[in-house]
């Protein structure tokens, strides 16, 4: 009887664990599925902002101080794109986004406007 009870407890623990994992997966899937609906208002605001500005901002920077090209290449011209090469990767600029290694203090970007 005790062995049966232990087996039943083990089985229900497994069921709870499996349910928890599947619940986690469902929550993640729900987050991905509902994301576009949540951002619809933001997308409308983005469209209105761009119509107000007649198109401004195309990169990952929010100002012109670090890298004007990554604020909006329309302000610079495409030939001025400041790019470096990284072995084993693609083309890279330390002022661009997604960099774990920020630029050293005192260095200036070749794409600075002034």
């Amino acid at each position: 009887m005790t062995a049966r009870l232990k087996q039943a407890v083990r089985r229900s623990t497994d069921d709870i664990l499996l349910a928890a994992i599947l619940g986690l997966c469902a929550a993640a899937a729900l987050a991905v599925a509902t994301d576009p609906a949540m951002t619809r208002a933001q997308q409308e605001a983005a469209g209105q902002f761009q119509r107000l500005m007649h198109g401004l901002g195309l990169g990952c920077h929010a100002d012109l101080a670090c890298c004007a090209w990554q604020f909006d290449p329309r302000l610079m011209g495409d030939e001025d794109a400041p790019l470096d090469f990284v072995a084993g990767s693609d083309i890279f600029n330390p002022w661009h986004s997604l960099s774990l290694f920020p630029p050293a203090d005192g260095l200036t970007d070749i794409a600075q406007q002034d």
Binding site: L18, G47, A62, C66, Q70, R74, S89
Partner: protein, 398 residues
């Protein structure tokens, strides 16, 4: 049915080795978390950049000297507007200026007040009017740094030969407006000209034209328009069209992908720890477990199924946690503390809505890759042990 029961023992295996399971999930989380955050921010930026191209002007005309973009004379807007096929030509000033005692960098954008769209919902206060006063609409991050509110006055922060004036904040971009407003000073064209003391120049002319005439008009502008400076030097024009912007954006996205590959390599090197945990560190436990299962009559394929289910559940748990944590942090907490890692010009508290968009494909690929990494760690070790006679397995594992 028997296979289902065997698959269920994969859950039991998870529960029997909580530390091994926790360590593996943590490794998957460490590998997938930054990847999904980066991909999510890239996706958000891409969506907003698409608006910038699609809802912007058809052509952008700037001056060109020494191979670089330079301002054009103000009369360029009128000359371009007179060309056949042009429906509108709007002069714009975009420039950099420092403001405040700490010399915060601001992006000054000047547009004629009569060319503005109706009141924007992402604005607290109002847009500027076209009068002689310096009326400013300030970006959310800049307003926060300078502690500005609607109605605030700013003492002169620029130099002009005709004298400087106090500026009045009439509006502040709300948090919901896109990233590029963060450090903006949005003013009338005349005010921008006063701030830079450049009364007769525009940094670009924004051209709208009839559908299908873009390319022809771009060629026509490049061919017909050029000016001579008072000193006799020649000023050419550079025309950027929507098609060129689309290809430029695609190329910039490819560059960012390149940077991201580097980071993904770092993440995968962390994921290799997961392989070590599931194969090397957990091998003694796994050997004795497999030996016992073989001794009580389990077949090799049944043991492999149990191991595969365990790996699948571990990678699903790690990946789901990575998605949820990213979603909560970047959507709920607006990337507090981590947005700066991906968008370097933002502060610890971004003060602007961080662009973020989760797309299913990279998530599915991430889950698949994490399952391959976790499974390759455990499945081979399990298969090797299962192929060995159970007696020798049990003896060697003590």
């Amino acid at each position: 049915m028997a296979w289902l029961e065997i698959a269920r023992t994969g859950v039991t295996s998870l529960r029997l080795h909580p530390w091994r399971s926790t360590a593996t999930v943590a490794c998957v989380l460490a590998a997938l978390g930054p990847y999904l955050a980066g991909i999510g921010i890239c996706g958000g930026l891409a969506v907003e950049a698409r608006h910038s191209i699609d809802d912007g002007a058809d052509l952008y005309v700037t001056g060109r000297q020494f191979g670089r973009s330079v301002p054009v004379p103000l009369e360029a807007a009128e000359e371009i507007a007179a060309l056949p096929g042009v429906t509108d030509a709007v002069p714009r000033i975009v420039g950099k200026m420092n403001i405040g005692q700490e010399r915060h960098s601001a992006v000054v954008v000047g547009l004629p007040a009569d060319r503005l769209q109706p009141m924007a919902p992402f604005l607290d206060g109002r847009l500027f009017s076209d009068n002689k006063a310096n009326e400013l609409v300030v970006g959310s991050a800049l307003a926060s740094r300078l502690k500005l509110k609607v109605g605030s006055f700013i003492p002169p922060f620029y130099q002009n030969r005709r004298g400087e004036h106090v500026s009045n904040v009439v509006g502040i971009f709300s948090f919901e407006a896109p990233l590029w407003q963060a450090n903006m000073l949005f003013v009338s064209f005349d005010t921008a000209a006063r701030l830079f003391d450049q009364p007769n120049r525009a940094t670009e002319v924004l051209v709208y034209c009839r559908a299908g005439t873009q390319e022809e008009l771009a060629r026509s502008i490049s061919r017909k328009l050029h000016w001579s400076e008072p000193d006799g030097s020649r000023l050419d024009v550079r025309v950027t069209g929507r098609a060129e912007l689309n290809s430029l954006w695609a190329s910039a996205a490819a560059h960012r992908d390149g940077v991201f590959h580097l980071h993904w390599m770092l993440a995968v090197s962390v994921a290799i720890l997961a392989v070590l945990v599931t194969s090397a560190f957990g091998s003694t436990q796994r050997r004795s477990e497999v030996g016992i299962l073989k001794a009580i009559g389990w077949r090799t394929d049944e043991i492999l199924l149990r191991s595969a289910v365990e790996s699948l559940l571990l990678s699903l748990t790690g990946a789901s946690l990575a998605v949820l944590l990213n979603w909560l942090w970047l959507r709920g907490l607006n990337g507090y503390g981590i947005a700066r890692l991906f968008l370097p010009s933002l502060g610890v508290d971004p003060q602007v809505r961080v662009p973020f968009r989760l797309f299913p494909v990279p998530i599915v690929l991430g889950v698949l890759l994490s399952w391959i990494v976790v499974t390759s760690g455990s499945l081979y070790a399990t298969w090797r042990t299962a192929m060995t006679p159970p007696g020798s397995v049990l003896r060697s594992s003590g």
